[in-house]
């Protein structure tokens, strides 16, 4: 457990460093093109550092509002709140906040920078479909993500991957828009160079992004959370039955989930029939294998 906590803390620092270096590289490229290499780097580092600080302290609220999650009150969701409180007691952690996403899909995720600033989110569909033991299983799984600081690394990955994807998108679009201009004047040559640089940057970035997501999801992490969650509830069939219901969910698409946030969820929030792109990004362990391992406990 302590090893996992330390691992996640180190990985988080590495992730932030890689992010700042990547953005600095991008700044160097753009700055170099316009004749001011150092200015570009300096601006990029300042921007990336500020963004990293924001990501660390309020990445969880960013992700929660992106996912359309609303804080659950004791009055409206006594069942959920009691379950979260119970498992916090079992894990010896402060009670995380509980959030609800109004969506029929069965899914859940945890986020936050540490156990003192963490939250657990479930869909209303999940609340409706699961009985108490099953819900405890799911909440136990999320609680162990919180306990060993998986949440910090996963949150940072989501927020940083999100911004890189957004920027790649913006760059591509601004190139397409700019490309319409006259190609005969002096500017045309510059744009061609920018195009080449952007192409190169994107070519470099994409596999790195994929790798980052891969690292964040890692099957080991999910299996470990399943096992630790079962230790918390002392009742592996609870989570196993919940996963069975999740596997049978006819419409697993969580409307507001995207590629950057998908790895947070307990099960892939996309449709079953996946395009090659989502398959590449979705490295959730196969749900049947998780059920089998839980039932063997």
């Amino acid at each position: 457990m302590f090893n996992e906590v330390r691992n996640n803390k180190i990985k988080s620092v590495v992730l932030i460093s890689v992010f700042i270096i990547l953005i600095a590289g991008l700044g160097a490229g753009i700055g170099g093109l316009y004749g001011s290499f150092y200015f570009g780097v300096a601006m990029a580092v300042i921007f990336a550092s500020i963004y990293a600080i924001i990501a660390y302290y309020s990445g969880d609220s960013m992700l929660l509002s992106l996912s359309g999650a609303k804080e659950a009150t004791k009055k409206d969701y006594p069942y959920l709140i009691n379950t979260v409180e119970g498992l916090a007691v079992a894990a010896g952690l402060p009670t995380p906040k509980a959030y609800v996403i109004d969506d029929t899909a069965l899914n859940a995720f945890a986020t936050g920078r540490d156990p003192q600033h963490a939250s657990i989110t479930v869909t209303t569909g999940l609340l409706k479909a699961l009985n108490r033991e099953e819900l405890e299983g799911v909440v136990g799984h999320e609680m162990s993500h919180i306990k060993n600081f998986d949440v910090r690394f996963m949150m940072l990955t989501a927020v940083m991957v999100g911004i890189i994807m957004l920027m790649s998108d913006l760059l591509l679009r601004s190139f397409l828009w700019g490309g319409k201009g006259g190609s005969n004047d002096k500017k045309g040559g510059e744009i061609t160079i920018i195009l080449v640089v952007i192409g190169l940057v994107l070519a470099v970035l994409s596999p790195i992004i994929a790798q980052l997501i891969q690292m964040a999801i890692s099957r080991k992490r999910e299996y470990a959370a399943d096992a630790n969650g079962a230790i918390l509830t002392r009742y592996p069939p609870g989570l196993a039955n919940a996963l069975k219901k999740i596997a049978k969910d006819p419409d697993p698409l969580v409307d507001k989930a995207n590629k950057a946030t998908a790895h947070l969820y307990i099960s892939t929030p996309f449709r079953k029939k996946q395009s090659w792109l989502t398959t590449m990004f979705s490295t959730h362990p196969p749900i049947q294998e998780r059920i089998k391992r839980l039932e063997a406990m």
Partner: protein, 183 residues
């Protein structure tokens, strides 16, 4: 001179070891105390809910006086209990009487439909689970603590420093079958 240095180094190492051990034992023992306080919080919460429950049930269950009396009695027994063992036993008795109260309530459809009763039932079953979880956590911490002070070489110094094993809860026969408490 050389031997003196060696002796001094050995003494220093032992002193350092004892300091580290002492601090970690104190930390663990405080965790045990804190875990114990957590159980108390949950037991108190349940005790606070019971008068409301009895109040809301009374009107409907006129013929079930004994069940209600049992619950009230078991509630006061917890307040009187002080040791880990006594508290555990009293708490189990209360859990059992509550269970039979909710079982009897099945015969009163009007009561079951009562909003206030439904809320109390959810609160009580949530609290029962929290009690079970806080006991589980307490037992885990106590086991870590006890293992530490009973294994070599920590046991030698633990005894000298006056640390002794803490008591843990015995699981009831029912709990062994199924950890979950469901009404």
């Amino acid at each position: 001179m050389n031997t003196l240095a060696i002796v001094l180094i050995i003494i220093a190492v032992i002193v350092l070891f004892v300091i580290v051990l002492y601090n970690s034992l104190i930390r663990l023992r405080n965790q045990v105390k804190n875990a114990w306080a957590q159980i108390d919080v949950q037991l108190k919460r349940r005790n606070d809910l019971i008068p409301n429950l009895v109040e809301s049930v009374k009107g409907y269950m006129k013929h079930e006086k004994t069940v209600l009396e049992d619950v009230t009695k078991a509630r006061s027994a917890i307040l009187a209990a002080e040791t880990v063992e006594a508290k555990g036993k009293a708490s189990n008795v209360l859990s059992k009487t509550l269970k039979s109260l909710f079982a009897v309530s099945e015969n009163y459809p009007q009561l079951k439909a009562n909003e206030n009763f439904m809320q109390l039932q959810e609160e009580l079953s949530g609290t029962e689970n929290k009690i079970a979880y806080s006991r589980q956590f307490y037992n885990d911490i106590v086991m870590t603590f006890n293992t530490k002070i009973q294994t070599f070489p920590d046991n030698i110094f633990a005894k000298m420093l006056n640390f002794s094993a803490e008591a843990s809860f015995e699981a009831t026969a029912e709990e062994k079958k199924n950890v979950k408490v469901q009404f």
